[in-house]
């Protein structure tokens, strides 16, 4: 029986934070342990999961794709059909319920691409909690649509102007807020990483993906030979793999961002050679850091995988070889996205498309009566601006230009109406 609270996973994990944050984490640890033992808490989570999140998410037999590739039957866990479009909402719901139980009235969160921010903002709207999202100024400029959703849900999106003005700086800013505000505020970290108890807690809330997968594959009598998930921080992967960790099979495969090449700064792959042990953002794990421990630049077409660290439990599972890691490039992920859209009528998020790319490579190696399960952790609607720009730049450009001129037309008419109203006064 796996432990609810581990703190360390092999050599990785821990709680490397300044004393100022320590009471907040100690309080969270005991609230987490208590709540997970309470049937009422689980019942509340299940209720929201079914009526608000849309669980269970379906398991799709990708029969056309499987036929086209030959080999194992590919199944897709359609986690992206969850409300707000990705698995992120599972953790946001769990932590927000926990926060409410702890008597916190205010939620803060960091977000990079915005998916975790959108999920958190939506849950806060639903549960009536104040919500502030920290987001790097550069990410805000790149991800305007998600900022729009967060604000629509009533969250305050605060631009972070320090450091590189991206995700890691948003984490620092959220920690700074929390250090002063934790008596009434909970910080919802979006992945299975950070100081303990976050890696354990986020995994618990995401393990609903794995539990449903066990049930759905058992009901259909599938001979599952492999589970494949993309890995940024790794919350979808650890939740998906969790029920299988103590079993010798199926193969568990984590796919990292291969980006555009293997040189530093062109990818975000930590588990296939480049990652080194480090301590960053309050936990020990494998990171893309230099000899001095300074965090290096990363790249991925998918913002959700563009992070220098991996959750400590996955790092440990890599060290013990229970989880096998590989990578997919930006190009392979786009190709996989197109392949499954055409064959199955589903659009993978660019993150999850990395897992889809691995399924395409691997399916032909297995007999037709076996099954590979791919976690589509998010759906691709959110990536419209990136995908369309990459796949058909000319037509997308024309569309955007016509949008701009439409907006300018609206604004100038509004100005004219205003001027006329002033004159008539």
């Amino acid at each position: 029986m796996p432990e609810l609270y581990n703190d360390y996973f092999g050599e990785f994990g821990g709680r490397y934070v300044a004393e100022v944050l320590r009471p907040a984490l100690d309080e969270l640890e005991s609230a987490f342990k208590n709540s997970m033992r309470e049937p009422a808490f689980a019942a509340e989570f299940d209720e929201i999961a079914s009526t608000f999140v849309g669980r269970p998410t379906p398991l799709l037999h990708a029969s056309n794709a499987s036929r086209a590739l030959g080999g194992a039957q590919i199944y897709i866990k359609l986690e992206g059909l969850a409300n707000t479009g990705a698995h992120k909402i599972n953790n946001a719901v769990g932590q927000a319920l926990l926060a409410r139980q702890m008597g916190k009235t205010r939620i803060i969160a960091e977000t990079g691409a915005g998916q975790h921010g959108v999920a958190t903002a939506a849950v806060c709207a639903k549960l009536g909690l104040n919500c502030r999202i920290y987001m790097g100024e550069i990410d805000i400029a790149r991800q305007r649509p998600n900022v729009f959703w967060m604000e629509l849900f009533g969250a305050e999106v605060v631009p972070v102007t320090t450091g590189a003005r991206t995700l890691k700086d948003a984490v620092n800013e959220a920690l700074r807020d929390w250090a002063a505000s934790f008596p009434d505020t909970h910080y919802i970290i979006g992945s299975a990483l950070g100081p303990s108890p976050y890696p354990d807690m986020v995994r618990e809330f995401q393990s609903v993906i794995g539990r449903e997968t066990v049930m759905q594959t058992t009901q259909r009598g599938l001979d599952v030979v492999a589970l494949i998930a993309c890995v940024g921080g790794g919350s979808n992967a650890i939740g998906f793999f969790y029920p299988y960790l103590d079993l010798p099979s199926p193969a568990l495969i984590g796919v990292e961002a291969g980006g555009t090449g293997t040189e530093t700064g062109l990818h975000a792959a930590r588990m296939t050679g480049e990652g080194r042990p480090g301590i960053v953002h309050g936990y020990k794990s494998l990171f893309l850091v230099d000899d001095d421990g300074q965090v290096e630049d990363t790249h991925s077409i998918s913002a959700g995988l563009d992070y220098p660290g991996i959750g400590p439990q996955l790092a440990s599972l890599g060290a013990t070889h229970r989880v096998e890691f590989t990578r997919a490039t930006d190009r392979e992920s786009l190709d996989a996205l197109r392949f499954f859209a055409r064959n199955e009528g589903v659009v993978f998020a660019l993150e999850s498309a990395h897992a889809a790319a691995e399924a395409i490579k691997r399916a032909p190696n297995y007999p037709a009566e076996t099954a590979i399960i791919v976690n589509m952790s998010g759906r691709g609607d959110k990536d419209l601006f990136i995908t369309a720009r990459a796949l058909e730049p000319e037509r997308w450009r024309e569309f955007l230009l016509s949008e701009v001129s439409g907006i300018e037309h609206d604004l100038s008419r509004a100005d004219a109406a205003l001027a006329a109203a002033e004159e008539n006064r």
Binding site: Y16, N172, G282, V289, Q294
Partner: protein, 252 residues
């Protein structure tokens, strides 16, 4: 008791550049500060205020390496007997191996090491390494911390303790209230040297705290002084020296 305040002055090596950070260090020493706290810039600081973080980011953009920091400290310790503490984050201490990092701190002539995100119960062996190298490993405690945290820190038997005088992060104004003074008194009762700071920026604040601690830590205010001198094109040495002197002489 001296009529001058004992100040632990924080400095970022290579900020704004190598030469002027050396000027700033000399200015602090010449003004009579009691200790220097040299912060090695780190890419992902979790406990820096925006002013220090911005200074550190600019130094990192210019290619700062740990060995540059050790070289800077070596120059200071050759120049002056003023004790130097190196402050940085766990990521930088852990990367070369805690033992190697501690050895390098010692070799640079520093007196001690402050790593806020290596708390006493997740210390990666830094206290043992410090004992082996006769280096003062300085835990950071916070005003308002629960008793169990203070007890855990005290159990490490440190010789010095860095006392953060408010919840939260460096830089904002700190009020010296009764609770803060109580806190300082309780830490002092451990029989340790107490370096107290966070948010101290005026001679009045220094005067209020000075008699309760071994040294008053001033950080953000010095970085702001340097930034301001750079922006107005005036001498970093002069600006830092005169500000430091105003703090050192606050009790006169």
């Amino acid at each position: 008791m001296s009529d001058k305040a004992r100040i632990m002055a924080h400095i970022v090596p290579y900020y704004p550049d190598k030469e002027r950070s050396w000027d700033a260090a000399r200015a602090l020493i010449d003004a009579g500060v009691a200790y220097l706290e040299v912060q090695f810039p780190y890419s992902d600081p979790s406990a820096d205020g925006p002013v220090i973080e911005a200074a550190c980011s600019s130094v990192l953009r210019n290619g700062f390496r740990s060995r540059d920091g050790f070289e800077f400290v070596r120059e200071i310790t050759r120049y002056s007997p003023v004790p130097v503490y190196i402050m940085t984050y766990a990521g930088m201490v852990f990367a070369p191996g805690v033992e190697s990092f501690v050895a390098a701190v010692k070799a640079a002539g520093a007196t001690g090491l402050i790593v806020p995100d290596l708390p006493v119960d997740y210390d990666e062996g830094v206290y043992a390494a410090g004992a082996a190298h006769e280096l003062d490993i300085v835990p950071v405690v916070v005003s308002g911390s629960p008793v169990n945290r203070l007890d855990a820190t005290r159990a490490r038997k440190p010789s010095s303790v860095y006392a953060a005088l408010r919840r939260g992060i460096t830089g904002a104004q700190t009020a010296i209230d009764q609770e803060t003074l109580e806190f300082l008194r309780s830490i002092s009762s451990w029989g340790v040297r107490v370096y107290g700071g966070f948010g101290i920026r005026t001679p009045e604040q220094v005067a209020a705290v000075a008699e309760h601690v071994d040294a008053v830590v001033v950080g953000t205010a010095f970085v702001s002084t340097i930034t301001c001198a750079v922006e107005t094109g005036s001498s970093v040495y002069d600006a830092v020296r005169s500000f430091a002197a105003s703090l050192v002489n606050c009790t006169e």
